[in-house]
Amino acid sequence: MTQTTAGARPGAGTTRHVEHLMGMPISLALRGRHADTIRGREAWDAVVDELREVDRVFSTYRSDSFISRLGRGELGVDACPPEVAEVLALGRAAEEQSGGAFSVTLPAADGRRLDPSGVVKGWATERAAQHLRALEDTDFCLSAGGDVVCHTAEAARGPWRIGIEHPHDPRSVIAVVPVRSGAVATSGTAHRGAHLVDPRTGRAPDGVASVTVVAASLTWADIDATAAYVHGPDAAHWLESRPIRSALVVWADGTITRVAP
């Protein structure tokens, strides 16, 4: 399903697209020269096609994906597309930098199971955004299930305003962060079936309702948001050591901590 609506806000000239993939909405806002051109439309189609291909390779919900077959030991990394090795390397770096709070292998009944989806979403969205970045004099704001990457080609159009969802009331916004070029990622309890567990213990972390990270790269914003969430009561403290722009931690009791390393 694709839905496209043209800009109504005076002077904004924002065009929007939405498509559902991998169980989540992929939303795009475009403004500037190619907001409403065929090239703009083709760039959006390329984003969707690329994310669909990523899902075919990386989905843990598809038994025939490369990742599922790799996890079952039916093939090696060498037999997979090169992106698989790239994602696994990112996963290893993330595990190292988070003291094990982030991992692409999670405890399972029979040892550990391979699940790189914590890397894939941010990484794939950032990578797919290259099609939009190629549009001259065009600003974009792309969200894959709440992980946002944006770019502003013309400063006069102002920053994108990203609303941070209230973890206890998803219909409202708890904070707004203006971003010209960069990424915003949020991790929390309600993430696709509450599958966020501490890779070291297999248990759901507590103390934190949601963590939002603003950073240059969506790949790392997403990884750091997830790792901080797993750090529980240490989330804000841990984020202070990270190369991020800022972060917002909403604790389980509703209090809020803003972090600016």
Partner: protein, 74 residues
């Protein structure tokens, strides 16, 4: 550097270091902290382009804030 807020009360403050220099500079602006809605305006009137959240899935999409934004085509 942290600010902790409970309800509408700031319960913990460390020195906030905002980057110095020309506020119009693109890079500097991108180091803005999230602005708490309770400090400024109601959530309903918060002017936003996109939603970052942990519950943005297709299941609850039709009821979501993101869907409202996508439909509004602002």
């Amino acid at each position: 550097v942290e600010i902790t807020v409970a309800g509408d009360r700031i319960t913990k403050v460390s020195v906030l270091q905002q980057p110095n220099g020309n506020p119009k500079d693109v890079e500097i602006n991108d180091y803005a902290l999230p602005i708490l809605v309770q400090d400024t305006l109601g959530a309903q009137s918060a002017d936003i382009d996109m939603v970052s959240g942990a519950t943005v899935t297709s299941d609850g999409y039709l009821e979501s804030l993101q869907a409202a934004l996508d439909e509004a085509g602002r």
